[in-house]
Symmetry: C2
């Protein structure tokens, strides 16, 4: 291996990664709980997650990360201290690091979320949902 | 400011960020070129991009980043040296760092991509598409 490039070594390390598409609807069909994200892929140290939401989440912020929301089904409101952002299917919003927000959904909605692996969904490890991969 | 927490400073820095949803279909309606991603949001040092694709892209890899593909419309194949990954709407795949791949679409397809800001789409700065935000 002494002559191998960093790239070749990385490719070798990844050679046994299963090559298959992640079908988001299929993943979402595997659970019913609200506000309990499931990790479906990993990307540059982040978890790519799907989640079902309904009702009001807690006001929270993240000290160290932006928070990406993409609506797959239904509608949500991301309440911010200085206004609301309304999102429907195919719409996304990034809550900047440090900004307080409260997600709200009048009816059940399905979202894709991306956060660094290990981020607590409430911004507080004592109240966060456990990390679950499916 | 000397007593302000890092979080409060970050929130202040972000206070003038416009709070609006990004509608992916609307962004995609603003251009026709293939293989020319448009940045529609920023997230933890990454560009969130939409792109229209048709035909065969070049074989390439990224030395420093995974490569996230989410199909919004149509179908694509991500060819890998040891097999193909077929993706339809609502399906995603993360090409691991260092792994050679060639995206291919028989018919036009629309994708969401996430890569660190400044990543060349061909893996080679001399042939990469320019960064364009819309």
């Amino acid at each position: 291996m002494s002559g191998a490039s960093a790239t070749a070594r990385l490719a070798l390390m990844n050679a046994d990664v299963p090559h298959r598409a992640v079908n988001l609807a299929d993943k979402l069909s595997q659970f019913d709980e609200h506000w309990a994200p499931r990790t479906v892929a990993e990307f540059n140290g982040h978890d790519v997650m799907v989640v079902k939401v309904k009702g009001e989440f807690v006001w929270h912020h993240h000290d160290d990360t932006d928070d990406l929301f993409l609506v797959l089904k239904g509608r949500i409101t991301i309440r911010l201290r200085d206004g609301d952002v309304e999102l429907g299917p195919g719409e996304l919003f990034v809550v900047p690091v440090g900004v307080e927000h409260q997600p709200y959904a009048a009816e059940e909605a399905e979202l894709l979320l991306i956060e660094p692996s290990g981020t607590s969904n409430t911004g507080d490890d004592t109240t966060a949902a456990a990390r679950r991969a499916i």
